[in-house]
Amino acid sequence: MTVNRIVWRLLPAAPPAVLLLAWSIYWAIEQPPPSVMPSVVGVIATFGELALGDRLGADILASLGRLLGGAACGIVTGTIAGFVAGLHRPIAAFLTPLVVFFNAISGIVWLPLVIGWFGVGSALAIFLIWNSVFFIVFQNTVLGVQLVPEVLEYGVRTLGASRWESIRSVTLPGALPYILTGIRSGLGFGWRALIAAELVGATTGLGQLIFSGAEYHRADIIVAGCLIIGAIAMAMDRWLLLPIERRTVQRWGLIAPDRSR
């Protein structure tokens, strides 16, 4: 039991450890030029340099602010639109082609246009993040709403529930597993859009940090930047989304509990 538990606890740390090890071994054998592939030691040194420097904190805060702003817009609009479409078939029929159309268009395509609309800065990043979060949250919410068993709604209607009360107490919690899945994937796409937006349309942020590294052929800064992004994304998943999931859909028995967490 306890050994089992320790193994489950350590399991999430295994893939990064394997990756680091493979990277170190490859580097020791091949000795690639540092501008193409930095060493583990080099990246750690760069981390220290960045941490002691004066821009890392500001870059992280700028990026996080944009991500949270854009993701919040995408999640709120995606969930509301998804509910409306999920509850009304004609609206779903009207919106679906538009969603499929715009979902196929990469955020990068919008960049030159959006710079013209919003200029360079946070508004641009927020728009691009919204663009990548909205569709996946919308589609998951529609599916979640449509999959709530009708009998649950019938049940509360016979208890005297209004349409609104039935949406609040049945449809919303019933669709939550899908909404959370949409949010989780949406956040990942949000990070991608954020960095793309910051490479071109910002003066601060982790994207700019990486971009400046690229300008000076500093692969170590690029890799360090990627590691910071990945670490923040993992931390958000673990300390923001998972506790919500554990207290709701997992507690209600809608999804099986995950033993590793």
């Binding site: 068993p149 009998v151 649950l152 019938y154 049940g155 509360v156 209607r157 016979t158 208890l159 005297g160 529930a161 009360e165 107490s169 049945v170 919690p173 019933g174 709701t248 507690r251 209600w252 028995g253 809608l254």
Partner: protein, 258 residues
């Protein structure tokens, strides 16, 4: 003469499907008196669930009228509670909050809610499970919660659609006795659908037998209730009169096998 609690006259329903219209029921007339426990027994597919859904207000009849206390039914409402065959209790509410949901919707005070919930938890043998979620309960327990939830909302009439079909045979006997006791304690009007002849007779003041699809009511039998304190399976099986009724109903139902 007092008004019928439920009066169904000239009811007939046709479903429109992609493959064309499907006649779900034949023409049905029936009445249910206040405080009466009426069971409807018939072969599967005869349209008994369609009739119940129409009384509940989930579907509008193709033909005929359904009156509740003399007024036509326009849609679902809290005067007509339903216990479904599929589990309709909410997975995200604890036992206590599921049972109290109807009162919560009605805006009852917390004290009033707690009192009613406590009484039903006691009546339905759910003590100790108040704060569990449905996925932590057995099938029989969940169905008890479903029954208690409907009773707690205090509807005028309770419609039950094969509520015990999905639980095991042993638990079913207990649930039937508990239901009989609950009805004796509360005096509710109940319309109960089943395909089990014993269940229909055990619970009913009056049994209605339906034909195969498109179903109509082919017979009606009164079940004399000698002791008002409820029924139990021991005295039921020992009673020759009950055996007679069961034989008669069985005979009627067998003729309708599909």
């Amino acid at each position: 003469m007092a008004t019928d609690k439920i009066a169904v006259s000239g009811f007939r329903h046709v479903f429109q499907t992609e493959a064309g219209p499907v006649q779900a029921t034949g023409t049905i007339d029936l009445t249910i008196q206040p405080g009466e426990f009426v069971t409807l027994v018939g072969p599967s597919g005869c349209g008994k669930t369609t009739l119940l859904k129409a009384i509940a207000g989930f579907i509008q009849p193709s033909e005929g009228t359904i009156l509740c206390d003399g007024k036509p039914i326009k849609g679902p409402g809290r005067d007509r509670g339903v216990v479904f065959q599929e589990l309709a209790i909410l997975p995200w509410r604890t036992v206590r909050r599921n049972i109290g949901h109807g009162l919560e919707i009605a805006g009852a005070s917390k004290a009033e809610r707690d009192k009613t919930v406590a009484r039903l938890i006691d009546l339905m043998s759910l003590t100790g499970f108040e704060d569990r979620y449905p996925h932590e309960l057995s099938g029989g327990m969940k169905q008890r919660v479903a029954v208690a939830r409907t009773w707690a909302a205090d509807p005028e009439i309770i419609l039950m659609d094969e509520p015990f079909a999905a639980v095991d045979a042993m638990t079913r006997l207990t649930l039937q006795e508990e239901l009989a006791r609950l009805c004796a304690a509360t005096g509710k009007t109940v319309f109960f659908i089943t395909h089990s002849v014993e269940e229909a007779i055990f619970l009913a003041d009056r049994v209605l037998v339906m034909t195969r699809r498109p179903g109509t009511i082919k017979a009606e039998l009164a079940v004399p209730r000698r002791n008002a304190g409820g029924r139990d399976w021991d005295s039921f099986t020992a009673d020759p009169e009950m055996r007679d009724i069961a034989e008669k109903v069985m005979h009627l139902v067998h003729a309708e096998r599909v």
